[in-house]
């Protein structure tokens, strides 16, 4: 039996509609789940995304890119396939791609999380026969706490820093995590400054109607005039770069799901690790698989072995699908951070970016 979706050299391919989902090489027609660089690559002739995600995708792919959009849940026909995009709750505009043809239904989750996030439309289950899911954090050790508790920790850390006369520098991906952080922190503690790559995307979020607190471009930060309690939000690639010097005495922290594990936290070499992820955790994965009603689950990236074996033992047809997605890469965000791979697209917002570490 011929499969509705298949992985080839370029990505996940749908023969019925002659399009790719999140291709890793340039193809004529790409349906993208979200604008992170391991899912949305340059050079495709056309892109299909959600209306909510147009702004951030355009910033990433450049102004020449041909981008078509649909509303969440709206169906379009491509060849003999029916395609619709459904909220994935990962970042602004992120989608699960539902493909139906010849009575078969597949859903490609892209990256997703179950927990509501004020900066994007929340995830919803999409019934299907075959679910293609990420499992970046596909081990039972990853169980996220309520994000309100994490933000309480972040705010407590900021207050301590303010009282000690230090600037708080919080690292998180510039697309998605940074805005989630901005929307979640207490804006009354002190002024908020953003790295160029973050500040540009903030504008896209605001344009899409996502309320964020006022933020200043970090390039304007003046040590002499700065008031106590300032927060700086920057991509991980800025850590350890000369860009950091302007802030004087700082306390550094990293917000990521990987911070759940002590060893990873220590390797990061920041003062604090906050466990905040935009990926599904283990209990969430169980929920997502169950609610999709899928008979078959294919895992694309992360702990594919453990997730496949676990769901196989639960009686599902589960396996791994070899892709080039990286999820939230643990060891070398400098290289894998979304910012690093699209420096040109951000150059206008990025004048002060430490280019060496951005590209390293």
């Amino acid at each position: 039996m011929s499969e509705l979706l298949k992985v080839n050299d370029c990505g996940i391919y749908c023969a019925a509609g002659d399009f790719y989902i999140d291709p890793w090489r340039p193809v004529p027609r790409a349906v993208v789940t979200h604008a992170h660089s391991d899912h949305a690559r340059w050079g495709c002739q056309s892109y299909l995304t959600t209306e909510e995600g147009r702004g951030v995708l355009a910033r990433r792919m450049g102004s020449d890119a041909v981008i078509e959009t649909v509303r969440y849940g709206q169906t379009v026909t491509i060849g003999s396939a029916t395609v619709s995009l459904h909220p994935a709750g990962h970042i602004l505009g992120s989608a699960q791609v539902r493909v139906e043809s010849g009575g078969d239904v597949w859903v490609v989750s892209g990256d997703y999380k179950i927990e509501p996030d004020p900066t994007c439309t929340p995830w919803e289950p999409v019934p299907c026969r075959t679910l293609v899911s990420e499992c970046t954090f596909g081990l039972p050790i990853y169980r996220w706490s309520d994000s309100r508790a994490v933000f309480a920790e972040i705010d407590a850390w900021r207050r301590r820093n303010r009282d000690a006369g230090r600037v708080s520098v919080l690292f998180g991906y510039s697309l998605g995590k940074a805005q989630r952080l901005l929307a979640g922190v207490d804006p009354s503690i002190g002024a908020i400054y953003c790295h160029g790559s973050v500040q540009g995307l903030n504008a896209d979020y605001r344009a899409a109607g996502i309320p964020l607190p006022p933020t200043e471009y970090a390039g304007t930060y003046d040590k002499k005039k700065a008031e106590a309690g300032a927060l700086v939000v920057a991509p991980p690639s800025a850590l350890g770069s000369s860009w950091m010097r302007r802030f004087g005495d700082v306390s550094t922290a990293f917000a990521s799901g990987w911070m759940a594990v002590r060893g990873t936290r220590r390797r990061r070499n920041v003062d604090k690790g906050f466990v905040l992820s935009d990926h599904v955790d283990w209990p969430g994965l169980e929920v997502a698989v169950k609610e999709s009603g899928a008979e078959r689950v294919l895992f694309t990236h992360g702990s594919t072995y453990a997730a496949s074996r676990f769901f196989t033992e639960k009686g599902l047809d589960a396996g791994a699908l070899k892709t080039e997605y990286q999820g939230e890469a643990e060891e070398s965000e400098g290289a894998l951070d979304a910012d690093a791979q699209a420096p040109d697209a951000e150059s206008e917002a990025n004048a002060d970016a430490p280019s060496s570490s951005q590209e390293s």
């Binding site: 081990l139 039972p140 594990v261 002590r262 060893g263 220590r266 702990s303 453990a306």
Partner: protein, 542 residues
């Protein structure tokens, strides 16, 4: 528990020494003495006797989570720490326990030993249910006895001294030897009056730095005393008020292991403390380290062993004389008194550690070439006008070892050998420390005796963490001294370095994994210009 758990988090979340000291001071300022005593106990690396097999914790955790064992193993592999893996997996609702640390330790842990397996499991789960995630982690750490937070006894000592306004040397001294973590110990530790030194208490050992530069950089050779660096058990010999004690550098009383040293200890004048090296010694020469090793870790010593591996104590320093602390006096004076003391009567097994005499650094370097045949590791260089330092004081003592390419590493993986060694785990991968992780750094196949190979094989089978085809990862517990001929940078190796002809020099049964070397120490051996920042080895000093 919450206060201690918070201290653990604070210590764990910083790499800055001052921040750690501040966190400790804040803790000591708040904690009741009952808790503070236990905190000092654990943070200074002391362990409580194991009350249950680790497997009990794992089983209870699996029961609570309903996870298959293989998934626990996968999780453990991702986390690298059993106590933490369990804390991350437990599904119980989190509560923050306000019950003080000492109650948890004294009322809960010690009881476990007397319970049967089922009751033990229930008690463990009750504890978990009363705690939050980070408390569970600390609790599991206490139960598994592996408490590592990047805090040394020295740091704890410093924090205590600073919070109480005491001299760090006094506190260090009071922390030596055996003590019970009681409120009265804690009060004594911080009391103003320092005249209460118990008679058994050794002084903190003065430790040497490895000499990385040419000896000429130390100045004139006449300012230095050169001694052989013995390859034995560093020890302090104490005779006070008619009682005798022999302490190893690991603060273990070792006189029972070396009963033949007792008579000479008695011969020392009352009120004497000597620093020296206990060695297997016969016919005026050191026996191989392997011979000495047969004497280690035994509760009783048979006649045959006593005859084959007799011990001697080679004294090289005098710390206390006539009940008076001599450590601030210059080495020149201490050494003279030591020589006088040992010459004053006949000792059977106590002898003066001989001085290596050279008129110039070149002459000493020439003499140092005899190190191997004398069964020493090289020379010790000690500043003649210097005091006896507390811990690793820079500039007083240097170890000028012969073979720069030896490293103490921890066994991480084993693989079965071939031919004669088929079905025995004989091919080993060793790791050294970097950022609190053991990084694989060299493979070695040879250097152990057949008996040792069988022993390591048994260990690997019983302590396998994971199987990857023919390779097994093992509990990082065994320490070996590796030798190698050359070292270079390598991009192919995870550690960033490659070594040439690595082999096992010996099994360091006397060392625990935390005494293994750091990757930076290995890197500091790289040819000049390519080396990393120099880091001190936590290893031995002579």
């Amino acid at each position: 528990m919450e206060r201690f758990s918070r201290l653990y988090r604070d210590l764990d979340s910083t790499t800055k020494t001052n921040a750690k000291v501040d966190a400790l001071k804040a803790y000591f300022a708040e904690a009741p003495p009952e808790d503070a005593a236990w905190a000092i106990y654990f943070l200074s690396g002391r362990k409580i006797k194991r009350v249950l097999p680790t497997r009990d914790l794992v089983d209870r955790c699996l029961r609570a989570t309903d996870l298959p064992y293989w998934l626990f193993e996968e999780s453990y592999a991702a986390v690298g720490d059993l106590a933490e893996t369990i804390a991350l997996l437990l599904p119980f609702e989190e509560r923050t326990s306000d019950r003080p640390l000492h109650e948890w330790v004294e009322d809960e842990i010690s009881v476990l030993r007397h319970l049967d397996e089922a009751a033990r499991g229930e008690a463990i789960e009750r504890a978990w249910r009363a705690m939050d995630r980070s408390q569970r982690f600390v609790w599991n750490k206490l139960l598994t006895g592996e408490f590592r937070v990047g805090v040394s006894q020295r740091l704890v000592t410093r924090a205590l001294a600073e919070s109480a306004g005491l001299d760090i040397a006094d506190v260090a001294h009071r922390m030596m030897g055996p003590w019970e973590p009681t409120p009265s110990f804690y009060k004594r530790l911080l009391s103003e009056d320092s005249g209460d030194v118990e008679i058994s208490r050794p002084y903190p050992f003065c430790l040497a730095h490895p000499l990385q530069e040419e000896p000429e950089t130390l100045g004139g050779v006449k300012d230095w005393l050169a001694e052989w660096k013995w390859d034995g058990i560093r020890a302090q010999a104490i005779h006070r008020r008619g009682e005798i004690f022999l302490w190893s550098r690991g603060e273990e009383p070792v006189l029972e292991q070396f009963p033949e040293l007792a008579a000479d200890l008695q011969r020392l004048p009352i009120g004497t403390v000597l620093d020296g090296e206990a060695l297997a010694w016969k016919d005026d020469a050191a026996l191989p380290f392997g011979t000495l090793q047969r004497r280690l870790g035994r509760k009783s010593v048979g006649k045959k062993l006593l005859a084959e591996a007799p011990m001697a104590f080679l004294a090289f320093d005098l710390l206390e004389y006539d009940g008076e602390d001599w450590r601030q006096r210059p080495l020149r004076e201490r050494r003279a008194k030591l020589e006088e003391l040992l010459a004053a009567q006949t000792f059977e097994r106590f002898r003066l550690s001989p001085v290596a005499v050279g008129e110039s650094w070149d002459a000493l370097a020439e003499l140092r070439r005899e190190s191997r045949e004398r069964r020493t590791e090289g020379l010790m260089l000690k500043r003649l006008d210097g005091p006896y330092g507390v811990g690793r004081t820079t500039g007083l003592w240097w170890k000028w070892k012969i073979d720069p390419y030896t490293i103490d590493a921890v066994l991480l993986y084993g693989q079965k050998g071939h031919g004669r060694r088929a079905n025995l785990f004989t091919d080993y991968t060793f790791g050294v420390w970097e950022n609190h992780q053991l990084v694989p750094f060299a493979k070695a196949y040879s250097g152990l005796t057949d008996a040792e190979i069988r022993e390591v094989d048994k260990f690997i089978r019983q302590n396998t963490l994971e199987k990857f085809g023919p390779v097994r990862s093992v509990k990082p517990e065994l320490v070996f001294e590796l030798g190698f001929e050359n070292i270079q940078r390598s991009t192919r190796h995870k550690s960033g370095i490659a070594v040439r002809f690595p082999r096992i020099l010996r099994w360091r049964k006397d060392k625990s994994p935390d005494q293994a070397d750091f990757l930076d120490t290995v890197k500091s051996m790289l040819p000049e210009g390519t080396g990393a920042s120099q880091a001190e080895a936590p290893g031995d000093e002579g």
